[in-house]
C-alpha cells in the first residue's frame, strides 16, 4: 500500500501570528515537504493545480520535475490535474516529459477543479464540466497510446496525424487516478478505463464516500477489469498531530476556525466525527485510518494533507516526521495483515511495464 502527502499549495495567513507566507516561501516549502516525505519513507507526493491567488501551483510539472531531480524513490503525482480546462495535448506532453526525467516515478490524478472562474480563463464553460472531463480524458488516453492521432471533438480544435511528444517512457503511460468527491460520472469514467478512483474525502461525510466508491467498484467489475475487490482506490486525509492530544487540539483549533472549508459550521470535534480530519495523537490517526478500510474496503493509496490552512512550515514538517516514524510503519503492517491475497497494489511504472512485456510475449 502507498502512503503519501498531498498539498494544494494554498497561501494562507497563519491565524496565530497574522503572517502570510510569500509565494516564494510556499513554493520552496512544497518542495521541502516532498523531499522530507521521501526521507521519512513515504511513497507519494502530490500537488494540486490552481490558477489564481491565494495558491501557487499553477505549473505542477515544473514543481514535480524539480522534486524529481532531488529525490530517488518517491512517486510524483497530482491532486489534481485539471482535465477540464487544460489542453489534453499539453497534459500529455508535460507528464510524458516528467516521466522521462523521473525515470517513471510519475502518476497523476484527474480532477474537474473546484474554482468556477478558471473555466472562462481557459475558454471553457463550467456547465460543460463533466462533458469536458469525459472528452478531454478520452483524447489524453489516445495521445499516450496511439503514435498518430486523428481527433474531432466538441471542445478542442481537430487534430490530424498528430503525435504527442515525447512518447511515454517505455511505451507505458503514467497510471491515472480519477478524483471526485461528488460526481458519479467520474466514478463511472474511472471504472470504464480500469483506472484508479481517488476520493479526496477530507470535506465530505463517509456515507457519501461509500456510495461513490461502491459505484466505482461495481462498474470496474462490470467493465471486466477485475473483481470489485481488485479495483484501485485511493483516499485523502487531513491530520494535525502532537503526542498529547490536548496540545494538538489546542494548537489546531484556530486553524480550523479560520478555514474557509471547515470553519464557521459544526464544531471541530463534530467535524472530526464525520470526516477524515484527525487532530490528535499518532495513535488516533492510526485508528481512524484503519477504520477507512472497514468502511470502503481494501484500498491502495492513502494521502495526507499536513500543510493546508496556514499551518507553519515547521509544524508541517513535524507532521511528516510523525507520519514517517510512528504512523505509517504501523499502518503498513496492519493493512498488510488484513489484506486478502487477491487484492493488488496500486500500479507503478515497473508493474505496468512488466504487464506490458508479459502481454507482448508470443
Amino acid at each position: 500500500m502507498q502512503f503519501g502527502i498531498f498539498t494544494v499549495g494554498d497561501v494562507t495567513a497563519d491565524p496565530t501570528t497574522g503572517r502570510t507566507p510569500t509565494e516564494h516561501e510556499r513554493i520552496k516549502a512544497m518542495t521541502e515537504i516532498a523531499v522530507k516525505a521521501e526521507e521519512v519513507g513515504l511513497d507519494v507526493f502530490a500537488t494540486g493545480e490552481h490558477h489564481n491567488p491565494p495558491f501557487v501551483p499553477s505549473s505542477p510539472t515544473t514543481i514535480l520535475a524539480w522534486i524529481a531531480a532531488r529525490t530517488e524513490r518517491i512517486v510524483l503525482s497530482t491532486s489534481t490535474t485539471l482535465i477540464t480546462t487544460n489542453d489534453p495535448v499539453k497534459i500529455a506532453e508535460d507528464f510524458a516529459t516528467l516521466q522521462h526525467l523521473a525515470d517513471g516515478r510519475v502518476d497523476l490524478m484527474m480532477g474537474r477543479g473546484n474554482t468556477g472562474p478558471v473555466y472562462p480563463w481557459f475558454g471553457k464553460d463550467i456547465r460543460d464540466g463533466i462533458d469536458l472531463a469525459v472528452e478531454n480524458y478520452a483524447l489524453l488516453h489516445r495521445l499516450w497510446r496511439e503514435d498518430v492521432v486523428d481527433w474531432e471533438g466538441r471542445f478542442r480544435t481537430p487534430l490530424q496525424g498528430f503525435t504527442a511528444t515525447p512518447r511515454p517512457l517505455d511505451g507505458v503511460p503514467p497510471f491515472v487516478w480519477h478524483g471526485s468527491i461528488r460526481s458519479p460520472e467520474i466514478a463511472e469514467q474511472a471504472a470504464y478505463y480500469g483506472d484508479g478512483f481517488f476520493h479526496n474525502n477530507i470535506f465530505w461525510p463517509k456515507e457519501h464516500t461509500k456510495k461513490l466508491i461502491d459505484l466505482y467498484r461495481d462498474r470496474y467489475e462490470h467493465y471486466g477489469h477485475g473483481t470489485r475487490e481488485q479495483a484501485i482506490v485511493g483516499l485523502g486525509g487531513h491530520v494535525y498531530m502532537r503526542h498529547n492530544s490536548q496540545d494538538a487540539i489546542r494548537e489546531f483549533r484556530p486553524f480550523f476556525d479560520n478555514s474557509q472549508q471547515m470553519g464557521g459550521g459544526v464544531s471541530m470535534e463534530e467535524y472530526m466525527e464525520r470526516t477524515p480530519l484527525t487532530v490528535g495523537t499518532p495513535e488516533q490517526v492510526i485508528e481512524k485510518t484503519l477504520a477507512f478500510r472497514d468502511h470502503f474496503g481494501d484500498y491502495q493509496r492513502q494521502l495526507f494533507n499536513v500543510d493546508g490552512g496556514g499551518v507553519s512550515h515547521k509544524a508541517a514538517l513535524e507532521q511528516i516526521d510523525m507520519l514517517g516514524e510512528e504512523v505509517v510503519p504501523v499502518l503498513r503492517k496492519e493493512f498488510a495483515k488484513r489484506r486478502p491475497a487477491g487484492v493488488p497494489d496500486a500500479p507503478t511504472h515497473a508493474s505496468l511495464l512488466a504487464q506490458r512485456l508479459a502481454a507482448l510475449q508470443p
Binding site: E135, L139, W151, R154, R182, S183, P184, E185, E188, Y192
Partner: protein, 147 residues
C-alpha cells in the same frame, strides 16, 4: 444530453438521477470515437432517472420527466401511474386527477388507480365523488375501502 449533469439538491447531495445517467455515459463505447456528438439518452434511461428521482422524493422533478415520457408514449400504464403518484405527492392534485382518470379509462379494473383517485378527490374536499371511487377500489381489491 442530460442537462442536469452538474446538479445537486439544495442540501448539497448529488441529484438522484445522476447515479443512473452516469452508468450510461459510455454506452456508445469510447467517447473518443463519438466525433463530438452529444450522447443521446435512451427512453429507458429517462425512465430509470425518473424512478430514481421519485425514490429520492424529488416528486416535482420526477413529475417533469414522467410528463415527457407519458407524452411521448401514452400507452404504457406504469409511467402514467408513477406520474399520478408524483403529482399526488407534490400536491398537484388536478394534474394527478387528470392522469388517474386517463389511466382508468385505459385500465377499467386497475384498483390502485381507483384508490388513488379517491384519495386525490378527498384531498380536494370532494368527499362524495371520492367515496364512489374508493368503493370501486375496494370492490376490485376485495378488501376494505379504508385500507
Amino acid at each position: 444530453m442530460n442537462e442536469d449533469f452538474n446538479d445537486y439538491l439544495p442540501n448539497g447531495e448529488i441529484a438522484p438521477d445522476r447515479w443512473v445517467s452516469a452508468t450510461h455515459l459510455f454506452d456508445q463505447g469510447d467517447p473518443g470515437s463519438a466525433a463530438g456528438a452529444p450522447r443521446e439518452e435512451s427512453d429507458f434511461e429517462r425512465w430509470e432517472r425518473a424512478q430514481a428521482r421519485f425514490e429520492a422524493k424529488d416528486f416535482i422533478g420526477a413529475a417533469r420527466l414522467l410528463a415527457a415520457i407519458v407524452a411521448a408514449s401514452p400507452q404504457p400504464s406504469a409511467p402514467r401511474l408513477l406520474l399520478a403518484r408524483a403529482y399526488y405527492h407534490s400536491a398537484q392534485l388536478r394534474s394527478a386527477e387528470e392522469q388517474l382518470r386517463e389511466l382508468i379509462d385505459r385500465n377499467p379494473v386497475e384498483h390502485y388507480a381507483h384508490l388513488l383517485l379517491g384519495r386525490t378527490l378527498e384531498r380536494q374536499g370532494r368527499q362524495e365523488e371520492a367515496a364512489r371511487w374508493l368503493r370501486m377500489a375496494a370492490a376490485f381489491s376485495g378488501g376494505n375501502a379504508a385500507a
